[in-house]
C-alpha cells in the first residue's frame, strides 16, 4: 500500500510540557486517516507537527521523523543529519490545512482563494478566475456563491465558510490535506455535508482528519489512530471497530 505520511518516534514539547511522546503511525495514500482521542490527547499537536505549524507557538521543540509524500515519494519535513527538507512555506503550501473554526480571510469570497493563489503559488492573473471556479465546484459551493463572489466571505454561513476554507486549500494543489475537527463548529446538517464532501475528496487526496466524535471517526476512517496522553494506543483498520467500541476505547484510561 502506498503511504502518504509516515511518523517515527515523534516527540513534541512546549517548554517543560510534553505533548507527544514516541508517536509512530502511517497514513495510507488513499482514504481518510482519523486521529481520535479525548481532548488533551495531543491530536491537534500531532496534526500540526505534519506541516510544522507547531513552530509558530513559543518554546516548541520537535524531535523524531516526519515524512510526507509531497509528490516525489516520501521526504522528510524536518531537517536532520540525513535530511534537507524543502523551504517551510513550500511544505505548508503542499500540505493543505483546514481548522476547527472556519478561518476565512477578511476579504471577498473570490479573493479568499485568489489571494493565496497569486501570492503563494504565483498563479498568473489570467488563470486565477478559472482556478477559483474549479476549487469552488470541487467543494460544491459554486452554485451557492457564483453570484456573490464579491461579497465579504464572513457573510457566508458557517458550513459555507468551512467549505470555502477547504476550497482555498484545494486550489493550491495540495499533496496531503489536514483537517482539525472540521465539523466541530457546525450544526448537524452542515457537518453531514462536510463529511460527505471529505469522503468524496478521499478518493483524490490523502486526508488526515482529527475527530473527537467516535461516530464520525468510524464513518470516515479507512484507518483509525487512537491517541491518549500523547501516545498512540491503537491503530485500527476500517470495519474492525464500531462507534460504541471506539467510545469505550477512548474512555479506557479515564
Amino acid at each position: 500500500m502506498n503511504i502518504a505520511a509516515r511518523v517515527c518516534g515523534l516527540h513534541v514539547s512546549f517548554g517543560a510540557r510534553h505533548v507527544l511522546r514516541e508517536v509512530d503511525f502511517c497514513a495510507p495514500a488513499v482514504g481518510v486517516t482519523v486521529l481520535a482521542g479525548r481532548s488533551g490527547s495531543g491530536k491537534t499537536t500531532l496534526l500540526r507537527a505534519l506541516n510544522r505549524l507547531n513552530e509558530t507557538l513559543p518554546q516548541c521543540r520537535t524531535t523524531g521523523r516526519v515524512e510526507l509524500d509531497l509528490g516525489q515519494g516520501l521526504e522528510s519535513v524536518y531537517a536532520g543529519p540525513d535530511a534537507r527538507p524543502r523551504p517551510l512555506n513550500e511544505i505548508r503550501r503542499l500540505v493543505g490545512m483546514v481548522f476547527q473554526t472556519p478561518d476565512v480571510l477578511p476579504v471577498s469570497v473570490a479573493r479568499n482563494i485568489a489571494l493565496p493563489l497569486k501570492v503563494v503559488a504565483g498563479v498568473p492573473a489570467a488563470e486565477t478566475e478559472e482556478r477559483v471556479r474549479r476549487a469552488l465546484m470541487d467543494v460544491g459551493l459554486w452554485d451557492e456563491v457564483a453570484d456573490r463572489l464579491d461579497l465579504p466571505a464572513e457573510r457566508l454561513s458557517g458550513g459555507q465558510q468551512q467549505r470555502l476554507c477547504l476550497a482555498r486549500a484545494l486550489a493550491l494543489d495540495p499533496a496531503v490535506l489536514l483537517l482539525d475537527e472540521p465539523t466541530a463548529s457546525l450544526d448537524v446538517r452542515a457537518a453531514a455535508g462536510i463529511e460527505e464532501l471529505l469522503l468524496r475528496l478521499a478518493a483524490r487526496y490523502p486526508l488526515i482528519v482529527v475527530s473527537h466524535s467516535p461516530e464520525q471517526a468510524v464513518r470516515l476512517a479507512a484507518r483509525l489512530v487512537v491517541l491518549s496522553r500523547g501516545r498512540v494506543r491503537h491503530v485500527l483498520e476500517k470495519g474492525s471497530v464500531d462507534a460504541a467500541a471506539l467510545a469505550a476505547l477512548l474512555g479506557e484510561d479515564e
Binding site: L53, L94, V120, A121, P152
Partner: protein, 299 residues
C-alpha cells in the same frame, strides 16, 4: 434582599448617568469650541480674508503675490503637512511593522525605549534641534544652508514619528492571531503575510495614526517657529525657501494684533485651519476606503 436589589439598581443607573455625563462633557466642549470659532470666525470668512485686495484667480494661479491674506499661509501649511507625512509615513509604518512582526523581544524593547524618549520630547526642543542642526551645517560643510520648508518638515516628521510607530504597532497587534496562523498554514512566508494580509487588515488603525500625525503637523507652532516659518513670505517658493503657516499666523496675530479687524482675521485663520485639518482627514478616510475595497476584492 429588596433593599440590596434597590441599591444595585440605583448604583447601576448612577453609573449610567455618570458615564452619560462624561460623554456630555466631551460633546459640550467640542460644540462650545466650534460654536465660538464659528461665531467669531465666520464673519471674517470670505475672499478678502484669503486674498486681501488681490483678485482670487490671480492669487490662486500665483500670478500676483498676496501680502494681506491667509492664502500663502494655507498653501504653506498644506505643503508642510504633505511633506511631513511624506517623510514620516514610510519610516513610521516600517518601524511599527518591524517592532510588531519581526524584531526579537530584546531589540524591540530597546527600540520602544528610544521611541518613548522621542515621544516625550517637547516640540520646542525638536525645533531647537533643527535650529542647531542648521547652525552646525553652516559652520561645517554647507555654509549656504538656511532654515526652510524642508528642515521644518523633517523636524515635524521626527516629532510625529512615534505616533505613527505606536499606531502601526497597536493596529498590527490587534489583528486576530488566527489570521497569522491561517496565512502561515497556507504557505505565506512571514514577509508575504505581513505585506498581503496583516498590513491591509491593520490599515484602519494605521490610518488613525496618520490622521493624528497630520493634525499634529498642522497645529504645531513651536517646531516651525525655529526652523523656517515667517510672518510674510508669500507662497512657498521651494523646499529650501521660507514659508508661511496657518498655525503661526494665528499665534502671530494673537500676539501682535493692533485692531479689532486683525483679531477677527486671527479667528478666521483658526477656522480655516480647522477646516483644512478636517479636509485632510476626509481625504485620508477616502484613500483608505478605496484601498480597502481593492484589497478585499469587493465591487
Amino acid at each position: 434582599m429588596k433593599a440590596r436589589r434597590f441599591s444595585a439598581v440605583s448604583g447601576h443607573s448612577f453609573l449610567r448617568w455618570l458615564l452619560r455625563g462624561c460623554a456630555l462633557i466631551l460633546c459640550l466642549s467640542v460644540g462650545g469650541l466650534l460654536a465660538f470659532l464659528l461665531f467669531r470666525g465666520l464673519p471674517a470668512l470670505g475672499t478678502r480674508l484669503f486674498f486681501g485686495d488681490v483678485p482670487a484667480l490671480e492669487a490662486l494661479l500665483g500670478r500676483q503675490a498676496v501680502w494681506d491674506g491667509l492664502w500663502p499661509a494655507c498653501a504653506g501649511t498644506a505643503c508642510l503637512v504633505g511633506l511631513t507625512v511624506l517623510l514620516a509615513v514610510f519610516p513610521g509604518v516600517g518601524c511599527g511593522l518591524y517592532l510588531a512582526e519581526f524584531a526579537p523581544p530584546r531589540r524591540a524593547a530597546r527600540i520602544r525605549l528610544a521611541m518613548d524618549i522621542l515621544a516625550g520630547t517637547p516640540s520646542i526642543v525638536m525645533g531647537l534641534f533643527g535650529f542647531t542642526l542648521i547652525l552646525f551645517l553652516r559652520h561645517t560643510f554647507w555654509p549656504g544652508v538656511n532654515t526652510s520648508l524642508l528642515l521644518a518638515a523633517a523636524c515635524l516628521a521626527l516629532l510625529v514619528l512615534p505616533v505613527l510607530v505606536t499606531a502601526t504597532c497597536e493596529a498590527l497587534e490587534a489583528v486576530p492571531p488566527g489570521l497569522r496562523t491561517t496565512a502561515l498554514a497556507l504557505g505565506f512566508t512571514r514577509r508575504q503575510a505581513a505585506r498581503h494580509i496583516l498590513l491591509p487588515a491593520a490599515a484602519p488603525g494605521i490610518r488613525g495614526g496618520v490622521i493624528l500625525a497630520l493634525g499634529r503637523a498642522a497645529e504645531d507652532t513651536a517646531v516651525i517657529m525655529l526652523t523656517g516659518v515667517v510672518a510674510n513670505a508669500g507662497l512657498p517658493a521651494g523646499l529650501g525657501a521660507k514659508f508661511e503657516a496657518l498655525s503661526f499666523s494665528i499665534f502671530y496675530t494673537a500676539a501682535q494684533y493692533q485692531s479689532q479687524e486683525e483679531l477677527l482675521r486671527g479667528f478666521g485663520a483658526a477656522l480655516v485651519l480647522l477646516l483644512l485639518a478636517s479636509g485632510l482627514l476626509a481625504c485620508a478616510r477616502l484613500l483608505e476606503a478605496r484601498f480597502r475595497r481593492r484589497w478585499q476584492g469587493e465591487a
